[in-house]
């Protein structure tokens, strides 16, 4: 027994020693990120329509001509992207504006660097709507009082915007019952009667419409016609260390956004490369707008509403968040 223990102890010590050795030598391999003048940057995105400009911009060479090679990783929503960026797993990430405001109000060191996606500003023709199923008795935002409304995340952009739509329609938002579920399950939940209305985005919105469902309010337009719905962001640490790279990323993204905004057919085409949206839905999608710059006034409005709805105690410092 004693011999076995001695052997094991020796083995453990040896293992610990080699582990230390390998971590010592791996301390200086950061340089291999940059090779031949191009730098690979990792961006955490979501496999949805909104991030099409990034894929399009990469294809068009807007990034490569600035020495950037994009490595796009489709993560499943903010649950992976915000911590991923803060923990340096991603250099940049994509997140909705309210999530960034909440993060900032909790002093999570995130910094928006580029616009992500914006509302179309057109009533009943936005890429996100408060939708009901075919034949629903609900006709306008006020009617969801006392009803169940599906949102993808509680206490986030969907419920504050629904609240605003209800308020503008003369209703009492505190009466609305919100239910959390992923966007892709909302069409089935509406059809099955589990919820009465849903804050839903494309392509689930197109599915609902194809089955005769309708929109009863354009919640993002109600907040602000130019609402900046999502932005690309990085961590404060990355921004301080790599100001040059942030600037290049901003320029390339602005160019990509502008290009996507004026080439909707190419956008629909690029979407098929990273999503599996069926052809029948693809043509019916309402594309968002992609302005080159975030709209500060609309973000201020979103922050006010968030504060009003108790998402954060004090309004986050927009100067620290915005580029």
């Amino acid at each position: 027994m004693r011999r076995l223990l001695i052997g094991l102890t020796a083995g453990a010590v040896l293992a610990a020693a080699t582990a230390c050795g390998s971590s010592d030598s791996s301390g200086s391999d950061d340089k291999d990120k940059a090779s031949g003048g191009t730098t690979t940057i990792k961006v955490g995105v979501i496999p949805i329509v909104d991030v099409a400009p990034m894929y399009l911009g990469e294809k068009k060479g807007f990034y490569s001509k600035r020495g950037i090679k994009l490595s796009l990783t489709s993560a499943q929503g903010g649950a992976a992207i915000v911590p991923g960026v803060v923990a340096d797993q991603f250099d940049f990430g994509f997140s909705n504006t309210t999530s960034l405001l909440i993060a900032r109000s909790k002093n999570v060191p995130v910094k928006a660097v580029a616009n992500g996606v914006a509302s179309t500003g057109k009533q009943k023709a936005d890429f996100a709507e408060l939708a009901v199923k075919k034949g629903s008795p609900l006709k306008s935002a006020k009617d969801v009082e006392g009803k169940k409304v599906a949102v993808n995340t509680l206490n986030n952009i969907c419920d504050t915007s629904v609240n605003e739509s209800v308020r503008k329609d003369g209703g009492d938002p505190s009466e609305v019952k919100f239910v959390e579920m992923p966007f892709d399950q909302m069409p089935a939940a509406l059809a099955g009667g589990q919820v009465d209305a849903a804050c839903v985005v494309e392509p689930a919105l197109a599915t609902i419409k194809s089955q005769g469902g309708t929109s009863i309010a354009s919640l993002f337009v109600d907040v602000s016609p130019d609402l900046t719905v999502a932005m690309y962001f990085t961590s404060e640490r990355y921004a301080q260390k790599n100001p040059g790279m942030v600037k290049k990323f901003q320029e390339a993204t602005a160019e990509s956004l502008e290009y996507a905004d004026s080439h909707p057919e190419e956008v629909r085409e690029i979407i098929t490369t990273y999503t599996k949206i069926p052809d029948t839905l693809l043509e019916q999608l309402t594309l968002p707008r992609w302005p080159a710059e975030p709209d500060r006034a609309s973000i201020e409005r979103l922050a006010e509403l968030g504060q009003q709805d108790g998402l954060f105690d004090k309004a986050p410092d927009l100067d620290k968040l915005l580029p």
Partner: protein
């Protein structure tokens, strides 16, 4: 006997597929959200023709296999070590019982913080979930060692290593194989779940993309793939088990009947 079993199994599956075709066709559930078997089969065929599908399958199998090898190796080593060292057994018993029931998926935020959406995140979850399956089985197996055989070995002057090799290991092996078989199934479930939730490349991430894309038949086709994979892994694990335990009465008994 075997042929009859296979026939029964196949007819059961056929009945299940027929039910899958009939239920949406009869309008019991909405065809848009639960497509009939034939439409899923169509999507399945399209998947098989897609190169990206095979890459995803490879990613999932890599995560599964690596995770399983790490978990089994660590489980066997730790299990034997803890079992033959009374102090260690006393010291770790309550910790093991505390850690074992923690669902691996609860560690997803930790995995993302440490490794982002890489393979290592998947491995963390897979290894955590399947390690306990092996460890606990090994510990049960070691407890099952016949004290008379153990004492006999001691009185013949066998050293610790020889006793582990000739007395402990043959007794524990059937338990170890059970642990490995359980771990193989759990590892697959966790690999797919991790990809699905975190977005690490693999079949799970592909299912997630199909979901967010409202591509319902494609999503079910991929779910079917994971089911088939589970089936194959189970058959494979049983074959390995039978080979490794060919000398053991539980397996020899099966053949005699």
């Amino acid at each position: 006997m075997r042929g009859a079993n296979a026939l029964l199994g196949a007819s059961g599956l056929a009945a299940f597929l027929a039910l899958g075709e009939a239920v949406p066709r009869l309008g019991v559930v909405d065809e848009d959200y639960f497509p009939p078997t034939s439409r899923i089969a169509d999507a399945f065929a399209t998947e098989l023709a897609d190169e990206a599908f095979w890459t995803a399958l490879g990613d999932t199998l890599t995560g599964w296999a690596l995770g399983l090898v790490i978990a089994v190796t660590a489980g066997i080593l730790a299990g034997v070590l803890i079992s033959v060292t009374p102090y260690l057994r006393e010291a770790t018993a309550s910790t093991i019982e505390f850690l074992r029931p923690i669902p691996s998926v609860a560690l997803i935020p930790l995995a993302v913080l440490l490794y982002g959406t890489e393979l290592r995140s998947v491995l963390l979850l897979v290894v955590y979930a399947s390690f306990w399956q092996v460890l606990v089985q090994v510990m049960y197996g070691v407890q099952d060692v016949d004290p008379v055989a153990e004492e006999t070995a001691r009185s013949y002057g066998l050293g610790t290593w020889a006793r582990i090799r000739h007395v402990l290991w043959p007794t524990a092996l059937p338990y170890v194989m059970t642990g490995v078989r359980l771990a193989a199934a759990v590892a697959l479930i966790l690999a797919v779940t991790a990809e699905l939730v975190i977005g690490a490349p693999g079949l799970g991430a592909r299912i997630a993309v199909a979901q967010t894309s409202q591509a319902v038949p494609e999503m079910y086709a991929l779910v079917v793939v994971t089911g088939l994979l589970g089936l194959l892994i189970n058959v494979g694990a049983r074959t390995v088990e039978r080979r490794a335990l060919a000398w053991h009465q539980s397996v020899r008994g099966e053949v005699a009947v």
